[in-house]
Amino acid sequence: MAFITVTDLSLGYDTQVVACDLNFSVSKGDYLCIVGENGSGKTTLMKTLLHLKEPISGKIETGDGLKENEIGYLPQQTIVQKDFPASVREIVLSGCQGRCGMRPFYNREEKELAKENMERMGITHLAGCCYRELSGGQQQRVLLARALCATRKILLLDEPVAGLDPVVTAQMYELIEGLNKDGITIIMISHDISSAAKYASHILHIGNRLFFGTKEEYLNSDIGRIFIERWKGGEING
């Protein structure tokens, strides 16, 4: 049984269907990249996987000992956060909220976990700093550390490298690869098809045409070749 199995899933808002007939599964240790054009429904899919919104039809099953609240999530940034007075330590610690159950305060174990994950992401020296004053790359590390507090099993990352410069982007990818090697399953949305091809084990392409399979299958498929060509063209023109 895989961690997450999706069958005949359709998603969208109200009556408007964004994507339909999705079938895929994610097993322990996988590194799944979700690619597709802007507006093809990648973020919507991720929110549906997290049960933040209802699917229009179809099923999402979790298995292999994965509980629904054991998923770490790194969202695309929201507006509220931009002027929010919160220290890095407070934000990372809030990743532990799923572990508390009915207990109102964080215990020592959870504070220790937050500290560990800050070390892992190399942001220990920023612990007392204000989130809104960090650089984009540092902010992403903070949110990643928070996501790591929520899970030891699977991370859902929505465009973790958006707006980062090439050097920081490469560091970010290496961090994520390291986490994957440590046994954490990764589902990542990315526009950067070349990095997807480099790091991912599986690719899910959504849009007018759908594709799900291993990276090798994708690179040899029509849809994969067309998308990569177009992406390269865009890269040169843009």
Partner: protein, 277 residues
């Protein structure tokens, strides 16, 4: 100073201080969350709703007006906060709509079915707060004290959750936190505070109590905890100073407290600039 000690012997002065400080404390605790969620004006909007509800209660000549005011206000608060981030009409516009609409309807109803001879006076004292904080009965003080204790307790107990839900609702939900339940709780608490405060100090004041301490402390501090604590302290100090000054100088209570809040905000703003925030 002597004058103050003399005044302190009157129970109505003590009552005013207790109630003023408690309401300042409660509203400032939730103020940080409300400002960050872009609901700064919810105090204004809800107190106008409460005003509208009061007009209806007056028309039906209900003896216990709270029976209508409280549920209507809570309902509006829930609707406003629930629509939240994904709504077609955004928070500020929704509040403005409800606020102006309720005010207009309330005034209209009062005008058509008026039973009071001093209509303008009634309206004015609801909006700007009368001297009613100086005419509190001991029963009202008790109600206020108990509700304040409940609010503070709830806030302390759920502090971590309130922070998490305010900072990132989607993440909280994905981690299994019942974000809707917390939003509902915040909405109910704020509605209760506003109804309470409106009767005692008027609706102009309640908005100021929600907004100013939060904004002032956000100039100075950078973590949620320090901002919350600082805004509670500032709010209480301003309420205390405002009430004392208004008694000594004979100025209107509500306006004096707001003036103190504005002054503190200006000071914090300058301090923040100096520290380079």
């Amino acid at each position: 100073m002597d004058k103050l000690i003399v005044y302190m012997q009157y129970p109505f002065v003590r009552y005013a201080l207790i109630v003023g400080i408690l309401i300042a404390l409660c509203s400032s605790l939730l103020g940080v969350t409300l400002v960050l969620k872009r609901f700064s004006f919810i105090g204004d909007g809800l107190s106008h709703v409460a005003f509208g509800a009061m007009a209806i209660a007056a028309v039906f000549q209900l003896t216990n007006k709270m029976m209508i005011i409280l549920p209507v206000t809570i309902l509006s608060a829930v609707l406003l906060l629930r629509t939240g981030q994904n709504a077609k009409i955004k928070g500020d516009a929704a509040i403005a709509m409800i606020s102006v609409g309720a005010l207009a309807f309330g005034y209209l109803i009062m005008n058509i079915f008026s039973t009071s001879s001093n209509l303008t006076g009634d309206v004015c004292s609801t909006l700007f707060g009368s001297t009613s904080i100086l005419t509190l009965t001991s029963g009202e003080v008790w109600v206020c004290t108990i509700l304040s204790i409940v609010v503070v307790l709830l806030f302390v107990l759920f502090y971590n959750r309130i922070f998490a839900v305010t900072f990132d609702e989607d993440f909280s939900r994905s981690a299994g936190t019942k974000a809707d339940a917390y939003n509902l709780m915040i909405a109910i608490i704020i509605a209760v505070i506003i109804v309470l405060a409106m009767n005692l100090v008027g609706s102009l004041l309640i908005s100021a109590l929600v907004i100013f301490p939060a904004l002032s402390s956000m100039r100075l501090f950078k973590s949620f905890k320090s901002v919350t604590i600082c805004s509670a302290i500032l709010s209480v100090v301003c309420a205390f100073a405002g009430i004392v000054i208004s008694i000594l100088a004979g100025t209107p209570v509500g306006s004096t407290i707001v003036a103190a809040d504005v002054l503190v905000f200006a000071i914090c703003h300058v301090l923040g600039k100096i520290r380079g925030v």
